[in-house]
């Protein structure tokens, strides 16, 4: 089984949209709710698509805005213009 990557997000308007986008785009993702935060684990790889988040927010969302909403993560980060990815090598 591939090892889990993980991201924890604030339960803010943006954070919830990011979490919803992750759940829609990563079929193996598992979501847990805690007071003020949401933790998502996913085996092997997790991708955040800016298109999906933008669609949910109704505005253009830049992957670098992840800095406003992220609380913690586990995995190797790859950041580019359209996606934010967590994976293990």
């Amino acid at each position: 089984m591939s090892r889990p990557v993980s991201i924890t997000l604030q339960n803010s308007q943006d954070g919830i949209a990011i979490a919803d986008a992750i759940m829609a785009d990563n079929s193996d993702a598992d979501r847990k709710s805690f007071p003020a935060m949401t933790k998502i684990d996913c085996p092997g790889r997790l991708v955040i698509n800016s298109e999906s988040v933008s669609e949910l927010l109704g505005r253009e969302w830049d992957p670098q805005e992840i800095h406003m909403s992220v609380i913690s993560l586990s995995g190797t980060v790859d950041e580019d213009d359209g996606t934010f990815t967590l994976f293990w090598r």
Partner: protein, 508 residues
């Protein structure tokens, strides 16, 4: 035709490599005098991969936005008597330990990352260290601003920097960071960015901040998450830095493994204080220490060390001990604080029946058998008006500086006690983990400033408890002793009566 927009990766490349240069009239080893003495070999600084590609304009934009959000909450707290929204005044003791113990570390981190931003030979790492240095200063400032609101209403917060340098339980976090900042740049990076921020910080901030939210402390959760958004960048830096060291030269592997072993254990011992805050100081619970340990260390850490196995790195030494004693340590640390509440700037109290039931449920193997009887005996004494305070001074571990109350991993009824000899003197440690650390660098740890030794040597204001407490700047009868009977309890009860008035009450 307009110039094509640069991609994120190109922009960041120009910002780091593009702004660096090769020195021509000074030798590199004179410019970076700390780069080699630890034995770390770097052949190609250009191979450094930046995980987050924040350019300076984006950095200022996001940090400013985080500050605007946070200060709006702080203002709102001040205007709306936010202190009345917390579940119980007992909760605030966790915030006191935070400002006394953690906030000064943020400032230390600010200083030392500025040092790294000057002294690391690679431009990419220098830029990341510079940003982290600014982040850490921001964390220190925002924590002070936020908690200053509570300082108007609660005791024990009024002189936290003075206390940080003197109090027995605060020497635990202080000595941890002193150890890191007096190490070389690569050990510091492995200690703080990797072992502490990547492997363990989740246990410090994440469940505790969620607990703050659950207990109505809007201020702490807001500064906590604001800081944590930077931590995600810091911990990623830690992972990439360690990977970079391991990829550069095989000879780096055993050095880095030694640091991982040392700093995992140092960090784990430090976090036992946070575990105690989670299990005992939050009136409403999010998760127990043991659950947080399983989710954030055993699962996430397990995946991490499986990933690093390709470089020949194994799980930290004594991680199995930490796993085996997860049902014990928070109760043992709470017991230490209960014993010495007369000498602390936080309160402790009788654990009530509802809380005992929660602890039994979360620690079915250990709590009812080993700890509940102790608490019930203390309750009996307190009810007779003889609340137990320990009037002897405890032996401290020479390395982690926690009073030696931890037990043998396979025998929870025997105190774990290790002895080393160095230049004719005996030194005591609380565990095999701390003993290994001492034995590896006895010259360093023989110099530890141990609060109890210092009291006995006459360096702490005098020979009696009131003199020492004065020297600590503890406001006696308010900051210290049991919560029951404290001015804080009386004030809280008054506030709570005022919340449900039986007749109209005029504003004061």
């Amino acid at each position: 035709m307009a110039a094509r927009k640069l991609s994120l990766k190109q922009k960041y490349g120009h910002f780091t490599r593009g702004l660096d240069w090769e020195p021509s009239y000074q030798k590199k080893e004179d410019i970076y005098p700390f780069a080699e003495y630890e034995g770390i070999k770097i052949h190609d600084w250009g191979a450094w991969e930046d995980p987050f590609k924040l350019t300076m304009d984006a950095y200022w934009k996001f940090q400013a936005e985080k500050e605007r959000k946070l200060y709006a909450v702080i203002d709102s707290m001040a205007q709306n008597n936010g202190q009345l929204g917390i579940t119980d005044a007992r909760y605030l003791n966790a915030v006191k330990i935070f400002i006394q113990g953690v906030t000064p570390l943020e400032y230390q981190a600010h200083r030392h990352f500025a040092h790294l931003a000057r002294h690391l030979p690679g431009a990419g790492l220098r830029v990341a260290a510079q940003m982290q240095s600014i982040d850490e200063l921001r964390h220190c400032q925002t924590q002070i601003h936020t908690i200053s609101h509570y300082n108007k209403f609660f005791d024990g917060i009024h002189d936290f920097t003075h206390m940080h340098d003197r109090l027995w339980y605060l020497s635990v976090p202080k000595s941890f960071f002193d150890d890191a900042t007096s190490a070389g740049p690569f050990e510091f990076l492995t200690a703080i960015s990797f072992a502490f921020e990547y492997v363990l910080t989740n246990l410090l901030f994440v469940p505790f901040m969620s607990g703050a939210a659950y207990n109505g402390d809007m201020a702490t959760v807001t500064f906590g998450f604001s800081a944590q958004s930077d931590e995600s960048r810091h911990m990623t830096l830690g992972l990439e830095a360690v990977r970079f060291l391991l990829e550069q030269d095989e000879a780096n592997v055993p050095i880095v493994q030694g640091w991982i072993d040392k700093w995992f254990w140092r960090g784990y011992r430090l976090l036992s204080l946070v575990g105690m805050m989670m299990d005992y100081m939050l009136p409403k619970k999010v998760m127990s220490w043991s659950e947080a340990w399983e989710s954030y260390y055993e699962e996430a850490g397990g995946a991490l060390f499986a990933d690093l196995a390709r470089y020949g790195i194994r799980e930290p030494k004594y991680a199995d001990v930490a796993k085996a004693e997860k049902g014990h340590i928070t109760h043992q640390v709470w017991s230490i604080f209960y014993n010495y509440a007369q000498a602390a700037a936080v309160h402790t109290w009788d654990v009530d029946d509802q809380h005992l039931a929660w602890l039994r449920e979360k620690y079915p193997e250990t709590f009812e058998k080993h700890y509940q009887p102790r608490y019930l005996a203390w309750r009996e004494q307190a009810e007779k008006g003889e609340r137990f305070y320990n009037n002897g001074l405890p032996m401290l571990c020479q390395v982690c500086q926690i009073p030696m109350a931890f037990t043998e991993v396979d025998d929870p009824e025997t105190i774990c006690f290790r002895v080393s000899e160095h230049e004719g003197d005996k030194y005591h440690t609380c565990s095999d983990g701390c003993k290994d650390i001492f034995d590896h660098e006895p010259e360093k740890f023989a110099q530890a400033w141990l609060p109890v030794h210092q009291i006995f040597q006459g360096n702490c204001g005098g020979a009696t408890l009131p003199e020492v407490l004065d020297w600590y700047h503890i406001n006696q009868g308010a900051d210290n002793l049991d919560y029951v009977g404290s001015p804080e309890e009386a004030q809280w009860d008054r506030w709570m009566e005022g919340r449900r008035p039986t007749m109209p009450i005029a504003a004061e």
